[in-house]
């Protein structure tokens, strides 16, 4: 193929209970790409964490917000684009805690960075909302 094609786009409300639906979409789509079960579950975790961070930090738990997940098949890699419509956040603040310090928080971004091959946060041109694009190289393992 060698060309980009959108596999699926999914829009949920920014509520904790809806993350399960997002995970189901990611699980099915990544599974169809031929990854091992372990890789599937890791990618599911990473996308879940991105969604969770949007709920908690971008929308500050306001359930009125919406989250869009787009999965793009780039032949040798899958792209996960997650978009919100919250106030633009300070991208410099998005970082994991040092893992040697044992604290309950700060694991989500670590999971994302560990699992994905590339992670880029940006603020859409229209000046509202935030976007993160996560790239996962696909080896049919």
């Amino acid at each position: 193929m060698g060309k980009k094609s959108k596999v699926i786009e999914t829009r949920i409300q920014a509520k904790p209970e809806q993350l399960k639906l997002l995970r189901g979409v990611v699980r099915d789509a990544v599974h169809m790409s031929g990854c091992s079960d372990k890789t599937v579950e890791r990618v599911v975790l990473a996308v879940n964490e991105a969604g969770m961070n949007i709920i908690q930090h971008a929308y500050k738990n306001n359930p009125e917000g919406e989250i869009i997940l787009e999965i793009i098949d780039n032949d040798t890699e899958l792209l996960f684009r997650v978009t919100d419509f919250a106030e633009p956040v300070d991208i410099n603040n998005i970082k994991p805690r040092p893992l040697d310090k044992l604290r309950p928080g700060g694991l989500g971004t670590h999971f994302i960075n560990e699992i994905m091959d590339e992670v880029v946060y940006s603020i859409p041109k229209c000046g509202v909302g935030n976007q993160v694009v996560m790239k996962k190289t696909i080896k049919s393992d």
Partner: protein, 116 residues
């Protein structure tokens, strides 16, 4: 639907421990319930084992609840450990580099054997 369909987690007693049995998906919508149960046991000065055999999925909020339990147990001078850790949960604990922090027991029948 769309509402929080409260999960119910079971607590049993075993050899002086309160065993909190988590199950299914421990995520942002269910980890607050897990967290509450674990911390309540520890506040009551019980040693706690969290049974993860039926956990199909756990995210950073679930792991954070375990870290909180571990820390409060230290403060309160009781024990905190994990038991029957499912493969799904173990993989996430390894990603978090916590598999060497928590005491992980193979089974309730053999608590002496801590897996490392």
């Amino acid at each position: 639907m769309g509402e929080l369909r409260a999960v119910t987690y079971k607590i049993t007693q075993h050899a002086g421990y309160s065993v909190v049995h988590l199950k299914g998906d421990v995520d942002l919508s269910t980890s607050p319930i897990a967290r509450k149960l674990i911390l309540e046991c520890i506040e009551a000065k019980h040693s706690v084992l969290v049974d993860l055999s039926e956990v199909a999925y756990i995210d950073s909020s679930g792991v954070a609840s375990l870290v909180e339990g571990y820390q409060l147990a230290k403060t309160n001078g009781v024990e905190f450990g994990l038991v029957n850790v499912s493969q799904a949960a173990l993989d996430v604990l390894q990603l978090a580099r916590l598999d060497t922090v928590f005491p992980i027991h193979a089974s309730l029948d053999d608590l002496s054997k801590v897996m490392r």
